[in-house]
């Protein structure tokens, strides 16, 4: 029904500041796509170009096969939810939601029907006659979403809609927006800087940095097979550990060796086949915190262990984050042991070798 395609889209501000360079992306019908990245990465600009709030410097955007570069925003059949809600302070909730329909000259009873329907979906029927000032943050958020729903647009655009809410409400609204997506079966593009939101809500995630799309993939794919060090460290909390070192053959087996000797981690066989060419070359090793576990004293396992000094311990209840240092490099482990380690102790860690990620230290790209 509504497919959004970006082809070689570029945005340059004032002739020299490049906000988005060469973005290529296809958002399928009924798909929930999340654009994620740190601030200034161009995700919002991309969204605003789809909305028509920013000119497109180069490239083309199509919605449903129609080129919309020169179509004014109001004729693009899109609706947007803003970060600060952008509710009209002088209109009550009903009027806020009906305004877009009124401007499009919908008949009165149709407007009424749609507003009440949307209010019902969002559970804000009781609030219809209140002004935005008299609403809580969560309620305002709902009204902002309601204003988008009543229009029944082809594409919904969300620009960091939850970042003004407190943590608890954010989790709740996150689930509600996901539910809404399934219910409305609409194409949604969602911008956030919060990787948790991205992981939990998106059908697919677009990771951006410095105006460039780094990787487009489903959440778990992104988590398991990050395309580069940026994606690897950006997705996941606590972030993936990156250890600098080199690959070398030790006793006939390909191993990852840290610069200051002492740590030698064996590479699994499947990966070894790909990595053989890199033997003797420097690489970055990526290990997820959960792929590290405390080795028992008797354990002299095959994969190899590393010794690290405990610096900070953060008990979370179900698990414990342990911040360590190994040969001068920082390392985080996520362990499930009942008794957390003591700060200052030296810990022996087992690494889950099949889950290693290797990156080219120069380009940052994953070696596969």
């Amino acid at each position: 029904m509504a497919e959004v395609t970006l082809t070689h889209v570029q945005k340059i501000y004032g002739g020299d500041v490049t906000a988005v360079q060469d973005a290529n992306l296809t958002i399928n019908d009924k798909e929930f796509v999340v654009l994620v990245g740190p601030s200034g990465c161009g995700k919002s600009t991309t969204l605003r170009m789809i909305a028509g709030l920013e000119d497109i410097t180069a490239g083309e955007i199509h919605i449903d096969g129609t080129r919309i570069n020169d179509v004014p925003p109001k004729d693009r059949d899109i609706a947007m939810v803003f970060q600060n809600y952008a509710l009209y302070p002088h209109k009550n909730v009903y009027k806020n939601m009906s305004f877009g329909l009124e401007m499009r000259r919908f008949p009165k009873d149709e407007i009424d029907k749609r507003v009440r329907e949307a209010a019902d979906i969002l559970g804000i029927t009781d609030l219809l006659h209140r002004r935005p000032k008299a609403l809580s943050g969560g309620q305002r958020q709902r009204v902002a979403v309601g204003r988008a729903i009543v229009r029944k647009p082809k594409v919904f655009l969300f620009d960091e809609p939850l970042s003004n809410l407190d943590a608890k409400l954010r989790v709740q609204m996150r689930a509600e927006i996901s539910k809404l997506h399934r219910r409305l079966e609409a194409t949604m593009v969602y911008v956030t800087h919060d990787q948790v939101e991205a992981m939990t809500m998106g059908d697919r995630i677009v990771v951006m940095l410095d105006g460039l799309i780094q990787q487009v993939a489903a959440p778990l794919e992104l988590y398991r097979r990050p395309a580069n060090t940026f994606v690897a460290t950006f997705i996941g909390s606590p972030p993936m550990n990156l250890l600098q070192g080199a690959l070398a053959f030790v006793d006939g087996a390909l191993c990852f060796v840290t610069p200051e000797q002492g740590t030698c981690l064996k590479v699994s066989e499947e990966q070894g086949a790909v990595l053989a060419d890199f033997a003797g070359k420097p690489v970055d090793l990526g290990i997820r915190p959960e792929d590290l576990s405390v080795a028992s004293r008797s354990d002299t396992s095959n994969g190899g262990t590393l010794e690290a000094d405990v610096e900070v311990v953060e008990p979370m209840g179900a698990e414990t984050y342990v911040y360590l240092s190994v040969a001068g490099q920082a390392l985080t482990a996520r362990i499930h042991d009942q008794t957390p380690p003591i700060v200052g102790a030296r810990l022996r860690l087992n690494a889950n070798t099949p889950c290693f990620h290797f990156f080219d230290p120069d380009s940052g790209k994953a070696i596969r």
Partner: protein, 375 residues
Amino acid sequence: MERARKILIYGFLIGWLFAVALPMGWVLLNSLRSSQEFVQNPFGMPWLIGGIPADGLLEHDEIEEALRLSEVTPLDSIPHKKLAWLAEHFEEIDTDNNGALNAGTEFGDSPSTLDAKMIAIIEKAASRPLARSNAVENYRKAWVESHFSRFFFNSLWVTFWSLLGTLSLASMAAYVLARFEFRGSHVLFLFFVSGMMIPAQLLLTPVFFEFSWFSEVGTQLLQPFGLRFQLYDSHFGLIILYIALSLPFTILVLTGFFKSLPGALREAAILDGCNEYRVFWHVMLPLAKPGLITAGIFNFLGIWNEYIFALVFVNTPELKTLPLGLASVSIQAQYKTDFGLMFAGLVIVVVPTLLVYVLLQRRLTEGITMGALKG
């Protein structure tokens, strides 16, 4: 310490209150009293009126009536001051008094008859209590006889259209200057605002010539349609002038206001299907209401009380505004000493501004701080 500070602050505020409220109250009270009462005691109350006090002046028509009653020479031939003096020293007048004799000779009457007549007149006048002036009388005189009704509606008319013109033009200009960057937008803003740096008095002469030139050209252009285009001595010209004078300040205030409104609202409205004009009309203008009210009040006060330009550019009595009317009454008052009338006129001028202040003062302070903090 805290206590001392409070006392200081409240003392200052109470002092200020008196400084402001006393003259106002004084004007209001005296507008309810006759000139005679005012002269007797400028700080008297309207309800404290008795007969003629020993040192009072006699009302003109009262003496006239007294004279008519006693069938003596017409009043015009008697110097007013002398009568007053006589009245003042009524108790002391003696038939043999030299002063009275001298006064009498001026009347060309025999002193004794004069004294007798004089005494009769003054007794008559003094026996009648000084008529308490009707509280409404001064206002009636001002409103009807001194044409304040006319001036009032002239002022209302001129102020209304000037405000409407100023606010609509300034809000549009300010919105664009606040929200859109274009080549020369800063220069344009400075140009508008620099209008505040020119003392208005300097404009009198050039505007006078501009008006006559424009009127000439305009009349020539409109001649085929049988219309006349007049800026000088017309409300239209005055309104144009007031709008021009009010624009710089108003644009400055409103630009600050529009800048303080979140820009996302414009984007939301655009996605809701508005074009720029509708964004302005449906979203931005309603939100700028506190700013519009602030600017409106300041301009109202300025235009309502404006004197110099009205004086120079309006000649026809029927077109005069309230400040001009008040001035003409006070000029007449030099000859007629009708203080009551003058005070009533003053109240008529002041009350609307006072009303505007009282009704909108909360909005006004709100508006000032909003502009100041976010603008």
